[in-house]
């Protein structure tokens, strides 16, 4: 459709806001043309770039970084998609639905309105207009140059800048309000693909003839979203602008700066929340009759407990990653203490929010490591009971990167739920029917034995010694190693190299934003080895990934026609 005609018709229908919005849309450069704009047609066909939709936390982090923490987003995000175990990978295959675009539009307008309101404009807009009732191109240009640089993670092109300044001018003229015009144009910027999507731009790799690498700004973004789960800061953008980031020394300097920044915690939080599939907490509910202590507050605290536990191991103490499976050290609130049945006293005035407290389970406590925490035992259980099968599947898939097939469509659940003797049997006894059914046995033999190790924890994560009145036997076998209780089980998980290789696989996928492909195999194998040599220190692994050429090298499409795990 002829765009100007369309605009003319709609201006009459919808008024000034639509008019400006359409100008802004017209100004937004199409995404497909950007990622390889410096390359020829033949080159484009050879390069695989990946474009990611910002995750909700990345969107929030960027807005907080650019405009401050008090900006209310005023909308909600579309659900993410998990691919190969990670939302970070799934974000490269999702688009935006019409409903999602409405939400982005609502958020962009809310954010833009707040940025220009009287309480924020002096702080966030670097200039004052000559008149608040008139357009001021100079001031608008100053604002969009700065904000656009941070929001788009690269300098605006002249055409982009001109379009946003023009939109702000049109808006100001239509509304007789400089700030209203600025707000309308900013809303357009926040709804544009260049903001909502992390795009990779390719350039020929001067050190490897015939191959391609990320351009410096894409490289800065790749690094920043990996380590901080946020857009690049001013120093990183400057390093991208002056070419430092393309030098080994410059890249290392930036990586080391970012690894020692307090913002690394946000990056680690984002990775482990993604890797542990904690987005599932949003849908977690328990039968309140059976598990009265469980609540949405407890669920949120359980998620945070595990993240704090992991951060304590990998960041605060820079300890062996495998300790996350055996550590007695954790962090609790009084409410969590009541589920773990350990005394955690309120450490603030009555009525005040509960504070987190570091806590160390005693040697005789059954709790050790994150697999015995509520975030695993309750998250991977149905609403009214525990499930060794679901827990075993989760352990295989999340911690070991192994795929467990879905049950066949015609599975006969009556075998498991049964009646008679099975009605009041322990889970072990009920699950034993799987071994006699060939349809079930194949998968259940890899899930149930390890899930049964956690049967002492009920569906809410609370310790128990009996199930349906019978004593629980948590013994079993994991990858050929036998265990008799959850403590021995945790030690076997600790020693199993599958878990550390899985972390390497996931962290490298997370950094790349895609699953490793055959040409990444050597790199990932090297990471695996050096992770072990480092004593399984996650921050060392992150550093090695971040300074690797492989993170910024773009695969040739003709060499990697299909994604495939290198494991």
């Amino acid at each position: 459709m002829d765009q100007s005609l369309f605009m003319k018709n709609n201006q009459r229908k919808f008024g000034h806001a639509w008019h400006v919005a359409l100008i802004v849309c017209a100004a937004s450069v199409s995404l497909s043309g950007q990622s390889t704009e410096a390359l020829g047609e033949e080159q484009v066909a050879q390069v695989q770039t990946v474009t990611h939709r910002l995750t909700p936390s990345q969107y929030r982090n960027i807005i907080t970084d650019v405009f401050g923490a008090d900006i209310d987003l005023g909308g909600r995000f579309e659900p993410d998609l998990r691919e190969d175990g990670l939302l970070a990978v799934g974000s490269s295959v999702v688009s935006v639905t019409a409903t999602g675009m409405e939400q982005y539009d609502a958020m962009s307008r809310a954010i833009a309105d707040t940025v220009v309101d009287k309480a924020h404009r002096e702080l966030l807009i670097p200039c004052a207009p000559k008149s608040v009732t008139e357009a001021d191109d100079s001031c608008a240009e100053s604002f969009f140059t700065e904000a656009g640089f941070l929001l788009y993670r690269r300098p605006l092109t002249d055409a982009q800048l001109e379009a946003y300044v023009g939109a702000a001018r049109t808006g100001a003229e239509l509304t007789a309000d400089f700030y209203e015009g600025l707000s309308l144009s900013l809303a357009g910027m926040l709804s544009s693909p260049a903001f909502l999507f992390r795009e990779q731009r390719a350039e020929p790799d001067p050190d490897s003839a015939g191959n391609y690498r990320l351009d410096s700004y894409s490289k800065a973004a790749q690094l920043s979203f990996f380590l901080w789960n946020a857009g690049p800061d001013a120093a990183l953008l400057e390093a991208a602008a002056n070419g430092d980031l393309h030098t080994e020394e410059g890249l290392t300097r930036q990586v080391d700066r970012m690894l020692t920044s307090p913002r690394l915690e946000a990056g680690l939080r984002a990775f482990f929340n993604d890797n542990f599939r904690f987005d599932a907490f949003e849908d977690l509910a328990k039968d309140s009759i059976l598990f009265p202590k469980f609540s949405p507050v407890v669920a949120e605290q359980a998620r945070e407990q595990t993240i704090r536990t992991v951060l304590d191991v990998v960041l605060t103490r820079r300890a062996d990653y495998r300790e996350v499976f055996t550590t007695k050290r954790t962090f609790l609130t009084p409410d969590l203490g009541s589920i773990y049945r350990v005394p955690v006293y309120k450490n603030g005035p009555n009525g005040s929010p509960d504070q987190w407290q570091s806590y160390e389970f005693s040697e005789t406590d059954p709790y050790q490591g994150i697999l015995t925490q509520i975030s695993f035992t309750a998250l991977h259980s149905p609403a009214g009971r525990s499930s060794p099968t679901i827990r075993g599947k989760a352990l295989r898939e999340i911690m070991m990167c192994q795929e467990v097939p879905a049950p066949p469509g015609d599975v006969d659940f009556t075998l498991f739920e049964g009646g008679g003797d099975l009605r009041n049997a322990t889970a072990r006894k009920r699950l034993a029917v799987h071994s006699s059914e060939p349809m079930c046995a194949g998968c259940h033999k890899i899930t149930d034995p390890i899930g049964l190790a956690l049967e002492n924890f009920d569906g809410s994560g609370e310790y128990r010694t009996t199930d349906n009145g019978a004593d629980i036997d948590p013994g079993g076998e994991l990858n050929g190693s036998k265990f008799s209780d959850v403590g021995e089980f945790a030690q076997i998980v600790y020693q199993d190299t599958v878990t550390t290789s899985c972390l390497v696989d996931r962290l490298s996928s997370y950094a790349l934003g895609r699953s490793p492909i055959p040409s990444d195999k050597e790199w990932v194998n090297n990471l695996d080895e050096s992770f072990e040599q480092s004593g399984f220190r996650v921050t060392d692994l992150m550093r090695q990934i971040a300074v690797s050429d492989a993170l910024y090298r773009l695969p040739r499409a003709d060499l990697n026609t299909a994604s495939a795990s290198v494991k």
Binding site: S288, P292, K293, S295, P296, V297, L332, P334, D335, G337, S338, I339, Y340, R341, V342, P343, V344, Y345, K346, N347, N350, G351, Q357, Y359, E360, S362, T364, D365, P366, Y367, Y463, T465
Partner: protein, 386 residues
């Protein structure tokens, strides 16, 4: 340890309370090794209400009339024109506004013939001689241990003990807001516990003995906590929360007793005192304290505690609610004063001879809790779940 070690080996939680933080902990640890034979279970009181056992026919003269009918009795006592009383009644019954009644009731006391606030001066309001309860059963104890009042005393519906002294139940048992059972609590006490639980520090119980799974001597303590009771999302009490004992001695109570077939009783019958929200009464005080606490269940325990209670303490809780509380919660407050005064059965005033205390029994429920000394840090405790 969560479960097995939650039965703490210790001597006296009170010792740690008195000794304070570091010294208390060290001393406690010392005792743990020397007196390793004791177990201590901890609980937080999750329900507290007058122990009532309302049954059909236990008020032979009928349950007290509705509040408005009681008000009309006052008007009659004032000598108001019967037609005026009837007009007001009709307006009330037909939902028509009538502003004459409430002002008169807010000053239904009389001092030297002048209208007086009856809530602050209950003796000034007419005693309408509303009846007390005369049923056979009431929860409680034979507090006076007198053989000669066994015929007139109640029979406990659980233990079938006779000669049970529970005149508070006799006094209030026919008032609508005070009728109920242990399972269906009286209106007033449901309201009162709601106020107490949400506004005051929790009450804690510890039971300490050599082996609480077997019969034998025990020490029972009641204390106030530093923390408020915690509840689940469905308002049920949250088990296994941690509470520290308030070192204020005004709410510390300790008794010797025994556990027999899972039921704890006390034998030294001292005084019981616990500070509470003044909205109900500034203090719960019971003389000649008796207790029957069934601790055989793992998740929740229940029991009856009783003794002689200053009845005026209770009245001030009722009267403080004023006409609003009277209409919404308790019914006629002033008649409750007269009833308790009438049935009070202990501690006569040396000058007037008026009994100043009344035998009472209260129902309590409690759930397992970690109980620690005032300076306990997370991970340490003196008493916990079985």
């Amino acid at each position: 340890m969560t479960l097995s070690a939650s039965v703490n080996k210790k001597s006296s939680p009170r010792v740690a309370v008195l000794l304070g933080s570091a010294v208390g902990l060290a001393f406690n640890g010392l005792l743990a090794s020397s007196a390793a034979a004791e177990q201590s279970r901890g609980y937080v009181v999750s329900w507290f209400a007058h122990a009532t056992y309302s049954q059909e026919g236990d008020c032979s003269e009928g349950v007290h009339p509705a509040l408005e009918e009681v008000y009309f009795k006052y008007l009659k006592a004032f000598g108001e024109d019967p037609q005026k009383i009837e007009d007001i009644r009709q307006n009330f019954l037909e939902g028509r506004r009538d502003d004459r009644l409430a002002p008169m009731m807010m000053e239904r006391g009389r001092v030297d013939g002048k209208p007086t606030n009856p809530f602050t001066n209950p003796a000034s309001a007419a005693d309408l001689k509303l009846p007390g309860l005369d049923g056979e059963f009431a929860y409680g104890f034979d507090l006076d241990d007198r053989e000669d009042d066994q015929a007139s005393g109640f029979k406990d519906p659980e233990t079938y003990e006779v000669g049970v002294d529970h005149e508070l139940y006799r006094a209030l048992g026919c008032a609508r807001a005070f009728r109920g059972t242990l399972d269906v609590s009286p209106t007033y006490w449901s309201w009162a516990w709601g106020q107490l639980a949400s506004s005051q520090p929790a009450w804690l119980i510890t039971v300490t003995g050599e082996d609480l799974t077997r019969d034998g001597p025990v020490t029972v303590t009641f204390d106030r906590a530093l923390e408020h009771i915690r509840v689940n999302d469905d308002s049920s009490p949250r088990a296994d929360m941690a509470y520290r004992i308030d070192p204020d001695p005004r709410s510390h109570n300790e008794y010797q007793g025994e556990i027999k077939e899972g039921v704890v009783t006390v034998s030294d019958q001292g005084d019981f005192r616990a500070l509470q929200n003044p909205l109900v009464a500034p203090e719960l005080a019971l003389r000649n304290f008796h207790l029957r606490l069934d601790v055989s269940q793992d998740e929740s325990i229940r029991g009856i505690m009783g003794g002689y209670q200053p009845w005026q303490d209770l009245y001030w809780g009722f009267g403080n609610l004023g006409i609003g509380g009277e209409q919404q919660v308790i019914g006629d407050a002033v008649q409750l004063y007269h009833l308790m005064k009438r049935y009070a059965d202990a501690d006569p005033d040396p000058v007037t001879g008026q009994n100043m205390s009344i035998s009472a029994a209260y129902y309590i429920e409690a759930v397992p809790a970690f109980v620690g000394n005032p300076s306990a840090s997370s991970g340490t405790f003196d008493a916990a779940r079985n």
